[in-house]
Symmetry: C2
Subunit: 237 residues, 2 copies
Amino acid sequence: MERTFDTRPGEARPSRSQRNHEERVQHILRHAARVFREKGYEGASIRDISRASGVALSSLYYYCRNKQELLYRIEMFTFSRILERLEERLAGVEDPAEQLRVLVRNHLDYFLEHPDEMKVLAHEEDSLTGRERKEVDEIKRRYYKRAIGIYEALGTKNRVRQLQPRIAVLSLFGMMNWIYTWHRPQVDPGAEELARTISSIFLDGVLEGRDAAATARGRERLARRASQAGSALRASP
Amino acid sequence: MERTFDTRPGEARPSRSQRNHEERVQHILRHAARVFREKGYEGASIRDISRASGVALSSLYYYCRNKQELLYRIEMFTFSRILERLEERLAGVEDPAEQLRVLVRNHLDYFLEHPDEMKVLAHEEDSLTGRERKEVDEIKRRYYKRAIGIYEALGTKNRVRQLQPRIAVLSLFGMMNWIYTWHRPQVDPGAEELARTISSIFLDGVLEGRDAAATARGRERLARRASQAGSALRASP
DNA sequence: CGATTTATGGAACGAACGTTCGATACACGA
DNA sequence: TCGTGTATCGAACGTTCGTTCCATAAATCG
């Protein structure tokens, strides 16, 4: 049957049919991402995706095992690309502060270039289950660990506040990943200005120079006020 | 028919039956919030809420017109409480930086006390439609505007970086609202430490003193590098 | 060419969905 | 004690869901 060629069939050399196959899958995934963004994973039906992509309902099952696999492929593909691009851009950058700016810029570039996929990534974290869920969690963790590494390098080369790296880095991801809830391309700044703003808030904060030091003194006062306010609330009718 | 009393019936004086009614609604909403948090609004079925609350499927429709009203009531109630508490705590606080710390602390206190409701608030922004959607958007906007006001006051009393208030404030909300995706009560810090960390990142940044000024010089270098990297990527095979 | 994958879509499946209906149990003022 | 409004629920409605089946075109190849 298959001994005419010494390469296993359907593995190397993407034949024309295979290239078409992969293109078709990408076509479906692009439209699926848009539908998932608009209606959410649970709210979107396979019929919606069929209609949006122009591929018949039952034909979708020729390319994907089920609905979950659509989401899984979108998430895996997107995470892989972001990580891939990040490593390319980090090559040769030594200063940790600049590494962090590169990470933010890379994240936001991808965010604004592929808003559908990125909203799905940020919004459908819990929609996968089983093996698919585990694999996405794993690549997400790799991304997170990369950021933690940069943050810790930042601490060895600079004077840094005593913050838990986990909390600091997840706050940074919060600033970035929340963007999908408010960013309107025609009104709001592009990736460059957003990245500059968020990097500068994270690294330098909002206040400049001695003002930052001045407000630091107010912090113990706040701690006292907060617990005061808490008990006052509980006592009120 | 209804001329025996001069007060309109069922408006003033919450009778015992009315109190029980309101308690029952709150009971349902509490369980509904938990189910919405666990499965998402679309993924959760009325039958799930019936099972979780112990109220029969059809009885739920005695208390709420439909599924959307469950979500609407949860979101309105939660937003109202947060705003209410915020104003109580802000009373008498003059310094804008401290006002901002109070806002963060108030937000996170409510976040960790009512994680179900807060995840629903953060995660189901787009699930409502029509009149209900408009009303929730409106109260959300009031909250946002309050934060913008504090941020602008911060700018008049301190030396502040030239950042768009909209972007800065929405980044702050990003740090806070993203918490629901990662916070584990048994491992992660409570509201006080979280609020301290996030306030300090926002106001003072991660770097301290002259280090912050030193890295500022690196910014134009970054701008150049980023556009370089962008074209390099496009040119690569 | 005829044989065999590759690709497509109409029709149907059982299950689950949001919602409604009608019967029943109970509390309470007249 | 009777009648009326409040509260509850089992059963059912029509619709939509994810998925499968099967028949059939179109491309591939010895």
